[in-house]
């Protein structure tokens, strides 16, 4: 039997983040190809009941590191604990989420394992025993296939891309506690607090639907109509770089090459002309709708459906429908 696949999962406040199920599901698929076991790992504080759930998504074993130090994310604590676990498991492949959690943790683990890491992958496959990872570069202007040459192969998976397996209630995983080999003197950077963003906001990189507004919004006060449409659809609100640079929307809302790269099921671009940096950040959306008064706007070339018209009339009408 081949060496196991390890899925590093992310929880917050005792709940798995959706991308964790995506990572476990993809881990199951790749473990099946290898004919190997899938081991998942989760760290946190007071999370002992959490592990079993991952069995339904295909994990054979779940390792839990439960410790007060892990009330919040601790880069140093997670790195030390997971490196120690990895040395015992000796995995062939390590998968983790390409969330800010995984983007912080992955490179640290790669240093200790002295291996390569493919960040923010949209597809992975085995080829001649090596892991190949497809990942966008230049915010999606090109797609690059990377070959990993050092075991364990490491890849972080872009949220919202990999399908989650239908949970199988008949399956279960063995749950095992692992040691947490850290003391407070190991921690030189400590998370003191987590402050939630504006009320119930849906995160862009994880959203199923995004409604985005650009320069055509004309001012910050007009985003109300975008927010109303987003509310109706259960969508996240995005913005173009010009809207962010004008100070109309917070930086965290920016979609594009110097903002977030997003892959929702539906992207509705309102008053966005479609600058190359913006198109790079949203072109992997499954369905794109553009609303713009300029029929020549480049966004229409990327859109599945377009409406030429005044967004101040069209967007409220869309909300109504």
């Amino acid at each position: 039997m081949s060496k196991p696949v390890l899925a590093i999962t992310e929880q917050r406040n005792g709940n798995f983040r959706k991308v964790s199920f995506e990572v476990v599901s993809e881990g199951r698929r790749i473990a099946d190809q290898l004919g190997s076991e899938l081991i998942a790992i989760v760290l946190g504080a007071g999370i002992n009941g959490l592990g079993a759930e991952l069995g339904k998504y295909g994990a054979n074993k779940v390792l839990i590191g439960d410790n007060e130090f892990f009330k919040n994310y601790s880069a140093e604590g997670y790195t030390k604990t997971i490196v120690e676990a990895i040395k015992k498991i000796d995995p062939e492949i390590i998968l983790l989420p390409a969330s800010n959690f995984g983007k912080d943790l992955g490179p640290r683990l790669a240093v200790h394992l002295d291996v390569g890491l493919a960040t923010d992958c949209v597809a992975i496959k085995l080829e001649n025993g090596k892991l190949h990872a497809m990942r966008p570069m230049f915010a999606g202007k090109v797609l690059a296939e990377h070959q990993l040459n050092a075991v364990p192969y490491m890849a972080s998976l872009r949220p919202n891309i990999f399908p989650v397996l239908e949970p199988d209630e008949s399956k279960s995983a063995t749950v095992e506690q692992i040691s947490v080999p850290i003391s407070s003197s190991d921690l030189k950077a400590i998370v003191k607090d987590f402050i939630t963003g504006e009320g119930g906001k849906i995160e862009l990189t994880e959203a199923d639907i995004i409604v985005s507004g650009g320069r055509g919004m004309k001012g910050p006060e007009n985003y109300k109509i975008i927010e109303e449409l987003a509310d109706v659809l259960g969508a996240a609100v995005g913005a173009s770089r010009s809207a962010v640079d004008a100070g109309w929307r917070p930086h965290s809302d920016q979609v594009g090459q110097t903002g977030k790269t997003v892959s929702p099921n539906l992207y509705i671009a309102c008053g966005i002309s479609g600058a190359i940096q913006h198109l790079a950040g949203m072109s992997s959306s499954k369905c794109i709708v553009a609303i713009n008064k300029d029929p020549e706007a480049p966004i229409f070339q990327r859109a599945d459906y377009g409406i030429v018209g005044d967004l101040f009339e069209v967007v409220p009408k869309l909300t109504e429908e």
Binding site: R17, Y73, T79, N100, D104, P107, R108, A110, V111, H112, D114, V115, G116, L117, T119, D120, H132, P136, M137, A139, K141, V142, L143, A144, E145, H146, L148, N149, A150, K188, A189, I190, V191, K192, F194, G197, E203, T205, E206, I209, H251, S252, Q254, T258, G259, T261, L266, I276, Q277, S283, S284, C287, P295, D304, Y305, I307, V308, G309, E313, L318
Partner: protein
């Protein structure tokens, strides 16, 4: 206080990226090379700390071929004091870059090392935290605010759905997220002065890459787009298409 900013030269975000004939790399002709936008935030933060605290040096370091000098000059023109170029023509992966930087930084002493959170070319987001692990320094990624007091730093770390407040003891590494500050435009005087500053060249051993690009392609082009109509009259048809055809709502 001694501050080091690690910078990268990248193609301008306006650049239309062309794939080279080898199908494994980017065609370098017609690329306008710039200082990585996220690194501008890191340089700006260092300069603001210097202006606030006084008695501070801000140095920059980069790894790359000869052309990297122009990105270094941009940072010097903003106001950085001195610069080091770890010169190499090799293709480096993130770990090899981090090892080269760590080897060069080991010979120096810094209280604060700043990076941009990512290079907007390869989008790997790895080098900052990798250097931190190699130098055994604390590191806070994706910061949108940084305050220093009595050898301690407090940073806002942007994560999905909000931010973390992180305290770290110096020396420490931080990677800059957009929103940290508004980078200044270099004044003419700064640009002229930057031309006179010497850039120290350093050679370090370069590790062989552990991950390589085997193929580069353009993303699939989107086809079949249609203009549903004009104005509000087109809305009901759009909603129907989204429901029935795209099944997106």
């Amino acid at each position: 206080m001694n501050i080091l900013v690690c910078i990268k030269q990248v193609p301008d975000t306006e650049t239309r990226i062309k794939i080279a004939d080898d199908k494994k790399s980017i065609d370098p002709t017609d690329i306008n090379w710039i200082l990585n936008p996220y690194d501008e935030y890191a340089v700006e933060e260092a300069l603001q700390i210097k202006e606030k605290l006084g008695n501070t040096t801000v140095n920059v370091i980069s790894v790359g071929p000869d052309r990297t000098v122009s990105a270094i000059r941009s940072a010097l023109a903003m106001g950085a004091d001195e610069a080091v170029l770890v010169k190499t023509d090799q293709v480096l992966d993130s770990l090899a870059t981090a090892k080269a930087l760590a080897a060069a930084i080991k010979e120096m002493e810094y209280d604060l090392i700043l990076f941009g959170k990512q290079g907007v070319d390869d989008d790997n987001l790895q080098v900052g935290p990798m250097v931190a692990e190699l130098l055994n320094m604390p590191c806070v990624t994706f910061i949108s605010e940084l305050n220093l007091e009595n050898g301690k730093a407090t940073a806002k770390r942007e994560i999905e759905g909000g931010y973390e407040v992180v305290k770290a003891t110096l020396p420490a590494i931080f990677t800059a997220e957009k929103g940290l500050n508004e980078p200044r435009y270099p004044a003419l005087r700064g640009i002229m002065m930057a031309k006179k500053k010497t850039i120290q060249e350093k050679q370090v051993e370069i590790d062989s890459p552990k991950i390589e690009i085997v193929n580069v392609e353009y993303p699939p082009t989107r086809e079949g787009g249609q203009i549903v109509g004009e104005g509000i009259d087109a809305v009901p048809e759009l909603v129907r298409l989204l429901r029935e055809e795209a099944k997106a709502i």
